[in-house]
């Protein structure tokens, strides 16, 4: 009986105290959600130590649009992962992808914005040894597709709605791409590219920055073959900036997608397929010493 009494006291008191604690917790939670400003706040935040990356590994950060994302590659590798594989073979050193921050449909103005204000982007760039970059395709061809409406929305939804435009490029492209408009937006885009590259340089002057040049995905459509001229103009203005910085290089791709376009382009007739990306990756690895 005595033992039973002690047990009951133990259970009873523990449970009672716990109940009171939980009711208090519930009260605090209600208060915190319903009057968020009055809740106790933590003034000094203890942040964890900055984990610096190891030196004996080559770190890669990939930035840009759907090409860097690897859209169109049925294996999901894209040129970024294939480049890493090839580099590992070439240097006999571990090559690590820090981040692939590419977003489908990203434009140069959005990338500039991200590089200016987004901590994650800035960190990923500043810790990289090599930055792989594709940008500009959406600037050139988006303007051509006549969508300026996305400009007013915030960057997240703009990326999204723009990518929606990307969904059926082949059907829209033929209707809507007019070369005059491509031409018109060239200067604006080239200026944004200049700012992107300069921002990258400011963030990490030691990193090797590899810009993958544009190609004309519509080379096989006779009316749109002249688009290649604009593409080359774009690549030329990119090179204007790139050649000023010894740590930057431009890897041309437009020749790959001329005679071999049916072999290298994916079924959406806009992005490369696995083989197309493999060809780009080979170019990149050849260009890096």
């Amino acid at each position: 009986m005595n033992r039973g009494n002690a047990l009951w006291r133990l259970i009873g008191i523990t449970a009672l105290l716990t109940t009171i604690v939980f009711i208090c917790g519930f009260g605090f939670a209600m208060n915190d959600i319903l009057n968020p400003r009055q809740a106790p706040s933590l003034s000094d935040i203890d942040t964890t130590d900055h984990a610096y990356v190891k030196d004996d590994v080559i770190h890669i950060t990939a930035l840009g649009d759907s090409l860097t994302k690897g859209t169109g590659d049925s294996t999901g590798e894209g040129y970024v992962k294939q480049t890493i594989k090839l580099m590992e073979g070439k240097y006999d050193k571990p090559v690590q992808l820090l981040n692939n921050l590419a977003i489908n449909g990203m434009r140069a103005d959005q990338l500039v914005q991200k590089l200016k204000s987004d901590k994650g982007y800035r960190l990923a760039v500043s810790e990289a040894d090599i930055v792989l970059l594709t940008i500009g395709g959406n600037d050139l061809f988006r303007f051509a597709r006549g969508g300026n409406a996305a400009d007013e929305q915030d960057s997240n939804t703009a990326v999204e709605s723009d990518a929606k435009d990307n969904a059926q490029p082949e059907s829209r492209a033929e209707e809507q791409i007019s070369l005059e408009e491509v031409k018109m937006n060239m200067d604006k885009g080239a200026d944004l590219l200049r700012r992107t590259l300069e921002l990258l340089n400011d963030l990490n002057p030691d990193a090797r920055i590899v810009y993958v040049g544009l190609y004309n995905p519509f080379y096989d459509i006779p009316e749109l073959r002249d688009g290649s001229l604009q593409v080359q103009d774009w690549n030329r203005s990119a090179y204007d900036v790139i050649h000023q910085h010894p740590n930057m290089m431009l890897v041309p791709t437009s020749d790959l997608f001329e005679e071999n376009i049916s072999r290298y382009i994916s079924s959406d007739h806009f992005h490369p397929n696995h083989e197309g990306y493999a060809a780009i990756a080979q170019r990149i690895v050849q260009a890096i010493d």
């Binding site: 109940t19 009711i23 706040s41 933590l42 977003i103 489908n104 901590k119 982007y121 997240n156």
Partner: protein
Amino acid sequence: MSSLLPLVRNETMKVWKKKRFFVVILVLLVLIPVFTYAQMKIALNNRDKFDDWRLQLQQKITDYQNQLSSERIPEEWKQYRRIAVQQLQYYLDHDVNPDSPNAVTFSRGFVEAAITMFIPLLVLAVASDLVSGERSTGTIKMLLTRPVRRWKILLSKLIALTLYVSLTLLATVVLSYLIAGIFFGYGGWTLPVFTGFVIHGSDVDSSAVHAVPQWFYLFMVTGLSWLSAMTIACLALMVSVLVRSTAASIVTMMAAIIAGSILTNMASSWHTAKYIFSVNLDLTNYLAGSPPPIEGMSLLFSVCVLAVWAVAAIIVSFSVFTKQDMLN
């Protein structure tokens, strides 16, 4: 009042002797290591791929943004993603790791994940045969032939049940902390957690966001879970009064809870579903600032719905228990 305490003691010790609470502890002892192991695998995998949690978080944000651009993903999911992107970005901007692996984070995550299914299940282990169990063994006759008012007997059962609900939650938190600590270390009490995200459509208003230390967050999370668990306990008591067999009473309650969790995942277009108790169990959602399963739900709304269900269940239990012919 003086006659109530011995009754509560009697009920509490009866449950203890039936070893129901040991079953609860045993289930926790088996399951928590499993979850801990899974969590550790994820942490190790992330450590392999990312040297820095910031890069990992940024990759997560980018992945979500890419999902947003996919045509295949339904609009409601995109809404979740959009909100998650903004919240993760907030963590990144303030240099706080939202899922740093430690025992307190694990306990918090475990309680948050367990609130809709697992904790209710554990509560049922105790609650479901409180009355129906006595009927099937026949001991209810002995109980009711004593010179005590029937409502006092049921009240003592309800109080004992409350005590066990608290003990179950306490055991869940303590055991998950102790077991996860073996793998992740026992730290993490003072890590900041952000709360106070206000959601308007797919936009997150972070003007009211403030950081609270994680121990305080855990304290609030368990408080909210306690209310959910108590609602389940009251309903289970009612079912236990109404139904003669313990098995039937467990099945009834489980069906209701599981139906709720299924509805939560698919009923965003059926608005009246928000008055069902099991859709409202996930109170910790509001603390984390996740969008509610059905539009128009808020913390106050959910608490009211749960309270109405619980009070109704108590009224039904008492009126049936005091009037029904129990002795057959």
